[in-house]
Amino acid sequence: MMDAIQSEISRDRRAFIKKVLGGTIAGSLLLVIPAGAMDVPEQIPGMREQEGPFIKGKKFVFIVDITRCIGCGSCCVADKNEYQVPDGNYRTWVERYVIDDHDNVYVDSPNGGLDGYQKPRTDIPHPVRDTFFVPKLCNMCEKPSCVQVCPVGATYQTKDGFVLIDQKRCVACSYCVQACPYSVRFINPKTKTADKCTWCYHRVRKGLLPACVNVCPVQARKFGDVNDRNSEVYKILHQPHVVSVLKPGMGNKPSLHYVGLRREVV
């Protein structure tokens, strides 16, 4: 009986080692084979057929579902890796809101939420009534104040609705940093130019989702073409959901929407 069990375990071990080895070799091959040779599935339908400098017929929106976010910080890690964001500057960050039963609102975002929220706050004097996480990133405004104020046109709005920065033109006067109502901009100490989230424009052009959307384990971040009636973002924005934008009074018309946005969120 014992022998049978022993051999069973050995066989399992062998199978396990085989699988690990197989995985390692396959994984190493992926590193060696040029990326172009890989057939990465298209994540945004119709993007690979796009030709010319601007994306035609599409209108991209970003949706953050506050009711889903668990504050793990994966999005922040993915973003930092994608862009080598210098410490102390944030293209995206996650805020933690805690509301006590006296209606006091406590907000924090240590290190921009990069390390996740692994421990609860201990400095709340009253019982906690509610708590949630709010990821922040570029609002990709339809009427962007950063573009309006840039004196050299380094910050511009593409015809397909992206607000981007030309690093070769930016003089780093920081006027855009002052003008952005959402504080998503910073001066990158390495390039000495303005910097911010681009909704991963380079990935989108290749039919891939933004890095943060790709890694979110709970689909709190959604990205897609609102002109595509089959897309999830179309359904969210055209069905009776509680959807809002940040600081609507600023008149910037963000393309970043929030599902379940609470009035406490600024």
Partner: protein
């Protein structure tokens, strides 16, 4: 420290993570301070040249050269601030028409041209005489500055006079545009509730007049003291009168702006309130309002409503002018730095402490503020500031102005 952006030393409440950097530092405090002095000094000169306030004749020419010395340094803090100063000219070569900032190069250059032309025409007879007296290098300098003309006929001088009146008249709206525009750069930032007010250009303009007049009083009295010459007290009394008038307007508008915010009490006011009674308490209420506005206001009122002795004027005029110069500097600090201390999270503010040796720190700021005085000294070697030193004025009865 991240080199470019100054890092705040801490935060009160919750500030957005990117708001911990105070991007517009001491350099951007100096920029409106310097352009304000330029605009104000020009106004002093125009009071004589355009509005014929005869008492200001002793300082009318000096004010223009004083303005030029500061104007020459107005771009230095900006260039020191830019992450890529080598691309600064792109603001003029490829300007973005929607940007308030893109206008700076044009407005600055146009104003500089008017100011330099006015100085050259006012000094032309003097420069012609000086050219005849000079030899070697200085002769070449005067030859260039007198625009190659040594015609001092009454017809020619009459034409000069017309041109000067035209330039001085043109210069007033341009000086107003130069500094009103600087106020607009801040007033047009809707994301910042402290800056976003249509009153901002007005306040900047009035404080510019105030700082310019005060600067001229201090510089004139200081130079006279060094030269051991008597101060023209009628001139100083007139300056003090204008300083009083402009300062009443300036201080009233500064307080009205704050009072309007408080009275309307929009949700922005709650954030502003925290700022004014928190991080800005000392620099705004105690220093800018309490010590450097209220006290100068009473001194100026006393000087203007009572006929006080010459000795007291000589003592109080530079004191009150220096206090006003500090007031305007504090106002620039409280607007530029203060406005950035409040995070756009509306839930917190940051603490900012300038460092001495940073790229945009206190030492570079001092150097930039001393430079105009060095330039003024060099200009004094070319342009005689005072009638007594002017060979043309002393050599002929006719005044070139």
């Amino acid at each position: 420290m991240h080199g470019l952006a100054e890092t705040a030393t801490g935060a009160i409440g919750y500030a957005f993570p990117n708001d911990l950097h105070v991007h517009w530092s001491l350099m951007i405090v100096l920029y409106p301070y310097i352009t304000g002095i330029v605009a104000g000094a020009f106004i002093v000169s125009s009071l004589y040249h355009v509005f014929h306030v005869k008492a200001l004749k002793p300082i009318a020419r000096f004010s223009l050269v004083f303005a030029l010395a500061f104007l020459a340094c107005a771009t230095l803090p900006l260039l020191n601030h830019l992450g890529h100063p080598e691309r600064a000219f792109n603001m003029m070569l490829t300007p973005s028409p929607t940007s308030a900032m893109a206008g700076f190069g044009y407005i600055y250059s146009a104003y500089a041209i008017v100011l330099i032309l006015e100085i050259l025409f006012i000094y032309r007879p003097t420069l012609v005489v000086l050219k005849d007296q000079a030899t070697g290098f200085m002769r070449t300098v005067y030859n260039v500055l007198s625009i190659g003309s040594d015609n001092l006929s009454s017809r020619s001088l009459h034409l000069d006079h017309k041109i000067i009146s035209f330039l001085a008249g043109l210069g007033i709206p341009m000086a107003c545009v130069l500094h009103g525009y600087v106020g607009f750069i801040f007033g047009g930032v809707k994301a910042n509730p402290m800056w976003a007010t249509p009153l901002m250009p007005v306040i900047f303009l009035l404080s510019a007049c105030v700082s310019g007049i005060a600067g001229i009083i201090v510089a004139y009295m200081f130079i006279m003291k060094i030269k051991g010459r008597p101060v023209d007290l009628e001139c100083i009394r007139t300056c003090i009168k204008y300083l009083w008038g402009f300062f009443i307007l300036d201080f009233t508008f500064e307080m009205l702006e704050l009072f309007s915010h408080a009275y309307m009490a929009t949700h922005h006011w709650h954030a502003l309130h925290e700022l004014y009674w928190g991080p800005l308490y000392i620099s705004f209420w105690v220093l800018q309002v309490g010590i450097f506005s209220v006290i100068p206001f009473f001194i100026l009122t006393f000087m203007n409503l009572f006929r006080i002795g010459d000795g007291l004027v000589k003592f109080l005029a530079p004191v009150v002018s220096l206090m006003i110069l500090f007031q305007v500097l504090l106002m620039r600090w409280n607007v530029v730095i203060g406005g950035q201390l409040m995070s756009k999270s509306e839930r917190g503010s940051v603490i900012f402490q300038p460092q001495w040796l940073e790229k945009e720190g206190i030492l570079p700021a001092i150097i930039i503020m001393v430079l105009p005085l060095v330039i003024l000294y060099i200009l004094s070697k070319v342009f005689p500031f005072w009638q007594e030193d002017d060979p043309y004025v002393s050599g002929s009865a006719a005044s070139g102005e």
